[in-house]
Each structure stands twice: as C-alpha cells, then as structure tokens.
Subunit: 284 residues, 4 copies
C-alpha cells in the first residue's frame, strides 16, 4: 500500500474537484481524505487530498509525471505530492532558552511527531547537554559580527548535507540571513512571544506589561524578510492581570510558546499548511 498527500492551488474554476478525484480513481487510487478551500477575495482554489494505491507496481515518479501532464497543465495547478513513507527532516536552531527544546524533544521521543531531527544547532553551548541526553547531534555555530558570513555558510552546509526539509527556530535569538530565507521559503518556522501583529520586535512582554493588556499571546509563523510579518501558522493566548510582573508574564508566556510552536511543527510536518499571499491555509 502506497499513500500520498497532494496539495494543490490554482485559479478557482469549474470541475476542478471532480477532475482531480476522477484522475485518482482512474489510476486505481482510493481517496481517504479530501478538504478544500476557496479564497473568494482572490478567487484561488486550494485542496489537500490523501490517496492510497494498493498496487505493488505503483511508482511515485510515474504518478507525478502523469499528474503533471494530464491534470496540472490543463488547470494550471501549482502542486506538491508527498509520500507518506518519508518523514520530513527538521533542523532545530536554539540559543539559551530550553523550554521549547524540552517540549519538542519530549514529543519527539514519545513518537508524537512525524519527523526526523538530524541535528540541533546553536550559537551557544548551554543546551548541548540536553541534545546529548536525547542523543541528537549538536553543532555549535557562534554568530559574531565579524564571523556572520562564515556562520551562515556553516549553517547552509549543515542543512544541505543533512537534506533538511524545514527549520525550526525554537527561541533562536539571532536574525536569520536573507540567503537562508531565500533557500527555505515558508520552511523556517519561528515562535514569536506575542500575539502578532501586536508587539512586533524585541521584548514583547515588556511592551505588554507597559500597555497593560489583559491577555498575552504567542505566535508561530514562517520567517520572511520583514521582521515578524510572515504567514501565521498558529496562535494562542492566556489571560493575565495587573498582578503579573514582567517576570510572571515571561513565565506564563513560556507555556504558550512551547505549545504553540509544537502545534505549528506538527501541522507543517503533516503537510497540513499551505501558504498563499502571506497567509496560511491550515487543513484539518
């Protein structure tokens, strides 16, 4: 049994759903999941579909080729087909905070995450013992002003040599380079410790304290060149009060950050996220 996940988007047009489902049927595929969304403002159609092929002679490459020639060209589809057999490879970038790292590795260990973590990279050595205790390779790549370019090159080498599919910045306290963003578009997941678009930038809990908000939040988003302005994957919030000091806000925020980031990772790894026009479609 071979199982694939198909993601497509295209201009909205009649018969697109029926055409795709018929194509699957005519290729002996059995659709086990289908969901779609139409962006009525921009007239764009999005679909996520899971399909099983029982035949032992099924070839993913042949199927992709056929899909492209018979369907994608006709409807001018943008598409991606993933095999359910291949777990995506995720690189973890961290600095000194450990709460997101523990949360991710705990889930990883328990089998909750459909992914592989070939390595953890950090600009500091503080979290190496945690990586060690989970038996995951740890690379120390310091980032200094003088060595910025070398650091970037080292990061790129590591990502390429490990065939990394996506990167997670688990409270990584460095701005990632444009080169990296260009190489991994909508594939670098960040956790920002505020309810975006409120409190963009550094020290959001300090700003939240100053503004006297009654709710704080956390936002996971893809990194784009504009700071904290990339497509939002997941958000959550918690109620706070005037009794919360900045330190209390930070502590409460950690709970949000780790849950929100882990949820975003799961959605991405399970190929449930599509990005269009700086927004996400999150399939169920």
């Amino acid at each position: 049994m071979h199982k694939i996940t198909l993601l497509i988007h295209c201009a909205d047009q009649p018969n697109i759903i029926a055409s795709v489902t018929s194509f699957m049927a005519s290729n002996d595929g059995n659709i086990v999941y289908i969901d779609q969304h139409v962006d009525r403002e921009q007239n764009i159609f999005f679909m996520r579909l899971e399909c099983e092929f029982a035949s032992s002679s099924f070839s993913l490459e042949k199927f992709k080729h056929l899909f492209n020639s018979e369907l994608a060209e006709k409807f001018q589809l943008k598409w991606k087909i993933y095999s359910a057999e291949r777990k995506p490879k995720m690189a973890l970038f961290v600095s000194k905070y450990d709460h997101c790292l523990y949360d991710i590795l705990g889930r990883y260990n328990s089998g909750e995450l459909f992914l592989e973590i070939p390595f953890i990279l950090s600009n500091h050595l503080d979290l190496k013992p945690i990586a060690d205790s989970f038996n995951i390779p740890f690379y120390h790549v310091p980032v200094t002003k003088a060595m910025k370019h070398e650091a970037e090159q080292e990061q790129l080498n590591l990502l390429e040599s490990h065939n990394i599919d996506f990167i997670v910045l688990a409270r990584y306290m460095q701005i990632v380079s444009e080169t990296l963003i260009d190489k991994y578009p909508n594939k670098i997941i960040n956790i920002h410790h505020s309810f975006l678009p409120a409190f963009v930038g550094a020290k959001p809990y300090h700003s939240a304290y100053k503004r006297g908000v009654k709710i704080i939040g956390s936002t996971s988003h893809y990194i784009t060149e504009e700071l904290d302005a990339g497509p939002i994957i997941e958000q959550d919030v918690a109620h706070v009060s005037h009794t919360f000091s900045i330190k209390d806000l930070i502590a409460k925020g950690r709970d949000l950050e780790k849950i929100v980031l882990s949820n975003a990772i799961k959605l991405h790894a399970n190929r449930k996220v599509m990005v269009y026009n700086n927004k996400t479609i999150i399939f169920s």
Copy 2:
C-alpha cells in the same frame, strides 16, 4: 443558478468520493465545497458537499431521483439533499429566562441566521412582550400535570401547521414528550447549563458550586429520550474561582448558554451537523 447541499453516510468503501464527485460533474454540477470524515472505529464514511447547477432546466426532484437510483443504491448511502434556496423553519420554545431569547432574536433581526422563526411557544406569558417587540407570533401553551396530553397535542399541531423543521429549547423548563422526540429525531436542540456529561439534570450550577470546580460550561445537544444524554453539538466553558457564589455562576453561565446555543442553531440551520451513534460530525 441552483445550489444544493448533500449530506451522506455509508459504510466506508473504496471510490466513494470519486464516484460522488464524478456523478456531480456528469450532471453539470460544479462542486464548490467538499468535506468528509471517516469514523475508523465503526468504519463509517460521512460527507458534506455543496454543488451548483447553472442550467435553468435543473430540477431538484429529478436530480434526487437520479442520485438515488444511480448512486445511493449502489453504495447503500443514507443521504439528504437540501436546496440552498429554502431556509429551515425553526420553532422557539421558551419559559421565563430571556437571555437566550434576546440573543437569538437579535441575531435573527440582523440577518445572521439562515432560518425562519414562524413562532415562539411558551408555557408562561412572561416573554410575550419580547416576541411582540420582534413581531413574531407567540403561543401560550401552559403545561400542567392534568393538561399534559392536551399541551403536547397543541404543540404538535402548531409544529405541523407551520411546517417546522427543527425546534430549539431556549431554556424551556419542561421535559418534552417522547412523542415529540420521536417525531423530530435529532431535530430538537437543547441548551444544558453544564459541561456535559458533568452535572446532568437539574440545578447544575448548584452542583458545580458544591464540587468546587474551577471551570463551568454549557452544552448544546439534541434531545433524546435519556435526559441530557443526546448528541453534543457545541460546548464552551469559562473560568471561575472560589469567589463565585451560585448567583455569580448562574450569571456567568448565561453568557455561555446564549453563545453556545446560538452557535448550535447556526450549525444546524446551515446543515453542517450529522448525527451517528449518538455523536455529531460537525462540518466546517
């Protein structure tokens, strides 16, 4: 343009999605929404589909006939097809509490609800002025032990003569009769003022107070013969503390009750709810 909503369920089996979507296409229908769910425990397939037919010669009756003979029999589908042109008719049963009534009628007035309210029925006269101010017919049907059967008969007559599709008990403080439940299976929506299955029965806020819970809830469900045990449509909760008296819990609960009930009404009226084995599937 004619638009329909199709709800189906059947034993899970290969090619069901492709077959239905192809059938729509071959009848010149354009699918604008599709969602499905498979209950893996019981091996049941559920689908909700919206389809548009541009042809002016489209006949709903003919289409239903065709669907039944060509598709439903083959896959042993249970199905319902609704025309998007026909708003469902909802009867509102109330007693003395007005918060749910105001909430529903405010939304009704603003055009938020896709339904008609032919009448409001109550076993008391207290809320008649509200019905009057919204220009909705109000029937006073007192329920006494001696007159129980007559009251039930009067209810049934009103429901039938107004072609009511579903009934909403907006804090209606009477047990509805088995006859009514049998005539309107999964079509009588109740709001229970607790987080079911906690605190079944009368006075749930008193029980919540006594147990010292830190969260209270509200549950909207279809009425079945077993008290407060019908399929759950929608639930929500609010945090409370030891400072809440029973009166405070009741006040906070009213906010939950009205929002939860109105959400359930919207889901039902938009044909987004399917019921199977005493549970609901809620399509997006």
Copy 3:
C-alpha cells in the same frame, strides 16, 4: 447598616494596610472585603476595601471628613469612598449596531447590573425602537461636521442634567470630543473590535483578515485623547481560521464585543477598577 467601598492609592510605605484597617475598626466599621496591589516598578500602593457600619448614626459625610483629616493627609492618599446604596448612573451612546445594546439592556432588565440608565443617546434613529421597548428615554443627537459643536453641547447638557457618572460607547461610531473626555476622565468606556494594541483604528476585522491571524479579539478600554490607547479594562478572544470571511469575522466578533463590554461595565459599576499611569488595576 451602611456599607461603603473605599479605593485608595499612594506611594508604597510601611503600615499603610494596618493603619487603614485600624481606622475602620476604631470607627466601628467591620471590614468585609480587602484587596491590595503594589506596583513594584513605580512603588505605588493600591487598595480596595468594603466596610460595614451598623450604627444608625453613621454619617457618610462625617466619615469622609474624618478619613481625610486623620488618614489621607498623613499617608498622602488619593482616595474615593462610595456608598453601596447609590447606584452609578450610566449613559449609553449608540449608533446603528444593536448587539451590544441588546446585551446590556437584557442584563439591565434581569437585575444583573448594579446601575441606572437614565437615557440612551444616538446620532441615528435606528435603535430608538429598542430603547422604547425597554422603556428608556432615547435622545437623537445627530453629529454633522457643521453641527459638531452644538451636538457636543447637547451631549454635555444631557449628561449633566441627568447626573451621569459614566458613559458607555456601545459601538458609538463617532469620535467623542476632547471636552467630553476632559469632563469624564476614565469614565468613558469604549469597546474596540480588536485585540488591542493590534489593529488600532477603523476596520480592524478587515486588517485581521488581511494579516491572516488565527485569533481575533475585543478590547474594552477607557477613552483618552489618543485613539484606542486608553487603559484596558477587559479583553477576550476567539479562535478563527482561514475559512472565515471578513463577514464571518465580524459576526464572531460581535459575540466577543458584547460580552467584553458588559463585563467592563460590571467591573466599573461595582467600583472594581482603578486607573494609574494609563493601566488598570482590576480588583476581584
């Protein structure tokens, strides 16, 4: 039995709590509620206290005088003493949206709110029937560019002649004048339909849609001269998804707006809010 509520703030200093509570005891008062907060950043002490006086000869004026001379001057307290017998008078300003109005009036009718509503004021006539059905005087004060000053004067006259204590803008679609803000500092409550400080200004749901947020919010705050920047009283949020159109966001937002605004009204009317340095302390 006479009951008072005391609110004080002052520079944090030793013995302040013991001094105030002893003063109450020595004047035959029995403290039935006490709560305090210290803002450690600014070193300010806040307290809310409820005290009962059984003596039939108790005089509120005499007590205030004594409190001021014996305690307030010594500790340089800023203080307010309210009699629990006097309900605050609230003016309701509305325009065309009715959801907040219905919610407030429904609670008012049911006795949930400790306040009086001497009148409803609007720049439009649309909601007059609702005011009528609740038997509350309705004043139509149109605001045009040419008549702005006259409208403001009419508002002030109405507020003064009815001894209004605080004003609620229940989706009132006009900027209130500086004169009004100066006359009612931290006494004009607004509901802003976003999670402030995100989406300040007009059309926040459109902005939320464009940014692709996964949570929308609503904020009740006191009006200050800077737009949407006054002290926040209450906030709440709801989860949304890519399937929500702007219209859906607006509908979901209405549920937040009405609950958040009504909660803020209750807090203010029960004298549970203190404002300092553009932030609120909300006592339990």
Copy 4:
C-alpha cells in the same frame, strides 16, 4: 529582613481583619500582601497575608507563640505560618509517562519553581534516565500485589527521611494507600486526565471519545480516599472535534495535563491554596 506567609480560617466575625493587621503592626511587621475570602454559605472567613519583619532580633518561634496566645485563641483561628526562607520539599511519583516529568523538571531547572525535589520515586525503571540527566535521586519501588505493604513502607520511609512536605503524582499509575493519604492530608497532588467530575476513573479519554464531547479537560486535585473526588486545585480545557481519534485526544490531553499539574504545584508551593470542606480557596 524576615518574611512570613500566614494562612488562617475561622468562623466569620467582626473585626477579624483589623485585629490581625493591628497585631502585625504592633509587632513591627509590615504587611505587603493581604487577601481574604468569606464563604457566605458556611460563614467561614479565610485570609492570606504576607508580612515583613525588619528587626534582626525577629524570632519565628516567638512570633508563632505570641500569635497563638494573643490572637488565635481569641478568634478560634486555624492558622499556619510559613517562613519565606524555607522552600517546601516535594516528592515526585511517576510511572512510565514522561510529559509531566519533563515539564516539571524543565521549570525546576530554570528556577521557576519555589521548591526542592529531594527525590523521584517510580514503580518502574523507565524514567530513571530522565531523573539522572537532571541529577535528581531516583528510587525504584515496584508495587505488586504481594509486596504492596512493603512498597508502602518504603515510600513512607523515603518521605520521612527526606522531610517531604508534599507529594506530586505526575501520572503515577498506582492507587496510593490510605496510610499515605492520612499522613499527607491535602498534601498529595494528582493530575486527572479529564474535566472532573466528568469521566471519573480509568480511561477518561476513551469515555470522552465515546460521549462525543467537543471539549476535553484536565484536573489537578488533592487526593482523598474517594477516587477522583478530592478538592480541585486547577482545571483547564481544550477544544476538540469529531476528527480526533482516541490517540489524538490523548496527545492533546498531554498538553493540558502538564500545564495544569505544573500550575497546581506552583500554587501549592507558594502557599496560595487553602482547603475547606473538600473545596479549595486559591489566593492570587
């Protein structure tokens, strides 16, 4: 500077607040926090107070003695006085699930928790490596039917020899003995993986799935002899849908369990919880 936390409860009576605060002042104490609650149903007064004593000659024992003779007897107070210098000692009982353990130890490491963990005890060896990686002693105390009494004795010995103040069952999959409950009344914190009182007992996620609830919850409570019926400290919930399998509910529930349990631990360790009549008062 010596700082104490005082918890008292007694029959509600006049002058209790003023008397306690005056006593503190007359002993050169400066009150930095005070909060109180009156249970109006049972007429019980509860108070939590933090007080600082600047004098270098302050003696905790003398103060307790004085408090008891001068105040406690007069008002028939039940009271406890804790020194802020002494961190409570917490024993962690675990079995095979690691999510709560990681969450607690991560916070412990980061300094978020005001407590000491002298040891971790488990009836299995699975989690020993985690205890080792955090450098916390780990005791393996298997519980078999035949060895139940010996196991209990070993637990008691460990608890006593380490001067344990309270015990946390972090998904410890054994019923603790009556002897233990009697020795540590309201000092054994459990995490139950449902929204109590719904789904008492084993396999609550299975029951939640079967009932088709739309929200799942988690409850932290003190252990009493009746199963899952002890005083509730903290609860939280998460929205779920028909698409959640039992496995999905369990995964989502883990996030709730760990946050709810850690919050309960913090409340208890900071002496913010009082128990009366099987309910908790949680001070802010």
